[in-house]
């Protein structure tokens, strides 16, 4: 006989399974569409399970314009640069804001966080004009700088709050042992805050990997486009804006893979990182 707590457990499991199924269905549909023969991928009404399997969509994507590898390389390179820049800027900044006796430290932190509520689109044009003046347009470094600026407030929020939660006693012990500020950051603050740093890394990667509008605006030659931009181009590949659905779904499938892999690799740190940033 099933007990009440067990029944509740089954119900919760069933609800979770249902939600997961609903959320994963579009992804599954997209992946299945990417292996349909070309004519079937665009068929009306659509088929759900492929009647045949074909890799033609992936072949077309591989050779699309400058080639898939170019766009994957651009996206990946930009994402890695964004991670590096984000960590280089936010780790010391968060450390400073958490522990150094800076005048008006709290108001500064709040002002920095206010950037979270400014719509990115509103910043894009002035930033583009500024980047154009210093020669950072049509450059992966420029795009990474742009992505870093999007990422900074959230990263700072997570890291600063995490660093603030590190017990002062440990820091004071390190000072007594003669450690300098950088040593304290490296040896005292970073080891227990790895989950938060990983969370920031993960967010920086996903933000940069998925970002479309900035990449479109910043880049002016197709050899510099990132994957989201080239997929938007592929969406209107044919006359009158028609879509090569098979190729587009192949692109969507490929673009998802790195995000899933990175998330799977880092997920054990992820929730801990978010929680550590949520409390002071």
């Amino acid at each position: 006989m099933t007990t009440a707590p067990a029944r509740t457990g089954y119900l919760i499991a069933a609800a979770c399974l249902t939600i997961a199924t609903v959320m994963l269905l579009p992804l599954a549909y997209s992946m299945l569409a990417s292996i349909k023969p070309t004519a079937e991928a665009a068929a009306t009404p659509p088929t759900y399970l492929p009647h045949g399997v074909s890799l033609d969509s992936y072949r077309r994507l591989w050779d699309y314009q400058e080639g898939l590898l170019t766009y994957l390389g651009n996206s990946f390179g930009t994402a890695v640069l964004t991670i590096v820049l984000t960590l280089l800027l936010t780790v010391p900044a968060a450390y400073g804001l958490a522990r150094f006796p800076i005048p008006a430290r709290e108001p500064i932190f709040v002002v920095l966080l206010l950037a979270l509520i400014v719509p990115y689109q509103a910043l894009l044009t002035p930033m583009f004009l500024m980047f154009a003046k210093i020669g950072l347009t049509n450059s992966l470094l420029g795009l990474a700088v742009l992505h870093t600026t999007i990422q900074l407030p959230f990263s700072l929020y997570i890291l600063r709050n995490t660093f603030a939660a590190v017990p002062r006693e440990i820091e004071e012990a390190a000072v007594m042992d003669g450690a300098g500020s950088l040593q304290i950051l490296r040896r005292v603050f970073l080891p227990p805050t790895v989950p938060a740093v990983v969370t920031v890394t993960l967010f920086a990667f996903i933000t940069s990997w998925n970002e479309f509008l900035g990449a479109l605006v910043m880049m002016s030659s197709s050899a510099k486009f990132t994957l989201p931009v080239i997929l938007a181009t592929a969406r209107t590949e044919t006359s009158l804006g028609g879509t090569d659905w098979g190729m587009l779904q192949a692109g969507v499938t490929i673009s998802i893979i790195p995000c899933v892999l990175v998330y799977l690799l880092l997920q054990r740190y992820y929730m801990a990182g978010l929680m550590s940033g949520a409390v002071k």
């Binding site: 583009f128 479109l216 002016s220 030659s221 938007a232 181009t233 209107t236």
Partner: protein, 435 residues
């Protein structure tokens, strides 16, 4: 995407305003240099073109130029077409522009008026090629008697009809409909074949597809659609109501697939080649596409008809090639234009690929002579028109605009058609009044 498109277009005015403050002086090159079909200086030329246009044709043209001019090849970048207008405006505002651009011809007047394209009048004056260049393109390439571009490629609309289905329905495949009542009668017979076959196709959720294919039915019936500017009255003439009634009747009679109602243009180009549609307004680009899709299908092309027999019209669309303000290579951009309009390219690139030539005097060529369908579709150039308004997107092309709203009410509701037209007329007039 469509929201992005709207946002992009709404920001255009702001960006163009910014451009007015920051644009660089016109290229320092002399305007007196005579154009050739080759390059005047070496180094890569950059060109932007929208995706979703006639990519194959543009690729071929650029390849032909690059083969002839290895020292100054054109580096072509396709921009997602829903983002193109905003991207151009942003580029011009910051001075980060390509040397030349392909531009959906319908948006050209907006950029000409804003002074964001290089005035090429002095450079192009006297070119004999321009006397026969596509009239629709040349109309929108001109603003206040100044010339800003030449045709890049032309897309015209026409009525495609499936000869196999005509034969099965007992119709003469050599006699396509010459009026809308005739079209209705033919569609009824084809739909009566049953199964998955329908006599007609109506893209129910695509503003652009409808101005391309339903707009000409109205023009051919004596109507006028868009408001050119403030004070100009849109939707004038009995033809508007007659065509709306015709399309409503076609939907009610079951002559279109139910799924057509959601067609937003993304699979529009694939419908005729499916072999399940008896007659459909579409473009010249569909000749090659339908053959690739359905090699055994026999089909013909005729002009889009109006209410009375032998009346016809067409929408001349496609792209212009223009030079954005800030271009450093205006002379070579003009040379590229000369190259596009040259006899050799018109025949050996455009016609050979069975695309329309952009000069009327080049239609009579060896490739078209071997291809009756292209000859048929080329006739549309003689009856075609290109709307000229600074607010084409807002009035017509927008998914939330009055044109599509009016069509959908006409097609899929029982609303009084006079009210439907009056509502759209007011909205279009209001939009034009702000231009």
């Amino acid at each position: 995407m469509r929201i992005r498109q709207r946002v992009a277009l709404l920001t255009v005015a702001v960006l163009l305003g910014a451009a007015g403050c920051s644009q660089e002086a016109e290229a320092p090159e002399s305007t007196a240099v005579a154009a050739t079909t080759g390059c005047a200086s070496s180094g890569e030329l950059t060109m932007w073109e929208r995706s979703g246009g006639n990519k194959d044709m543009v690729d071929m043209l650029v390849a032909a130029w690059n083969a002839k001019n290895p020292d100054c090849k054109v580096a072509l970048t396709y921009i997602p077409h829903t983002e193109m207008v905003g991207k151009i405006a942003q580029g011009i505002a910051s001075g980060q522009v390509p040397d030349l651009m392909g531009m959906d011809l319908i948006y050209a007047p907006q950029f000409e008026k804003a002074g964001q394209l290089v005035d090429l009048t002095d450079r192009l004056t006297g070119w004999p090629e321009l006397t026969t260049a596509s009239k629709g393109h040349m109309t929108v390439a001109t603003f206040e008697d100044r010339l800003y571009g030449v045709p890049l490629y032309a897309d015209v609309s026409a009525l495609f009809y499936n000869k196999d289905l005509f034969t099965k329905a007992g119709l003469d495949p050599a006699k396509p409909p010459t009026s809308l009542p005739e079209l209705r009668a033919y569609a009824d017979k084809i739909t009566a074949l049953g199964g998955d076959v329908k006599g007609y196709y109506l893209p129910g959720n695509c503003a652009g597809c409808n101005i391309f294919t339903v707009g000409p039915l109205m023009w051919a019936s004596g109507a006028k659609i868009e408001a050119a500017g403030p004070g100009d009255e849109p939707l004038v003439g009995d033809g508007v109501k007659q065509v709306l009634q015709f399309e409503r009747d076609m939907v009610k009679a079951g002559n279109v697939h139910d799924g057509d109602r959601t067609e937003n243009g993304e699979t529009f180009h694939l419908q005729f080649g499916s072999g399940k549609v008896g007659m459909m307004g579409t473009g010249n680009f569909n000749i090659t596409l339908a053959r690739q899709q359905n090699p055994s299908m026999q089909f013909g092309i005729t002009l889009l008809p109006g209410m009375t027999p032998n009346s016809s019209a067409s929408f001349i669309g496609g792209d212009l090639v223009v030079v954005p303000k800030g271009s450093k290579r205006v002379n070579d951009a003009v040379n590229f234009m000369k190259f596009l309009l040259s006899d050799d390219v018109q025949v050996e690139v455009y016609a050979k690929a069975l695309n329309l030539t952009t000069r009327a005097d080049m239609v009579d060529n060896k490739y078209f002579k071997e291809e009756p369908l292209v000859q048929d579709v080329a006739k549309a150039l003689t009856v075609g028109r290109t709307p000229y308004t600074l607010t084409f997107f807002e009035q017509i092309n927008s998914p939330q605009g009055p044109w599509l709203k009016m069509l959908q009410r006409a097609y899929y509701t029982d609303d009084n058609l006079d009210t439907v037209i009056a509502d759209a007329k007011k909205e279009m007039s209001d939009i034009a009044a702000k231009s």
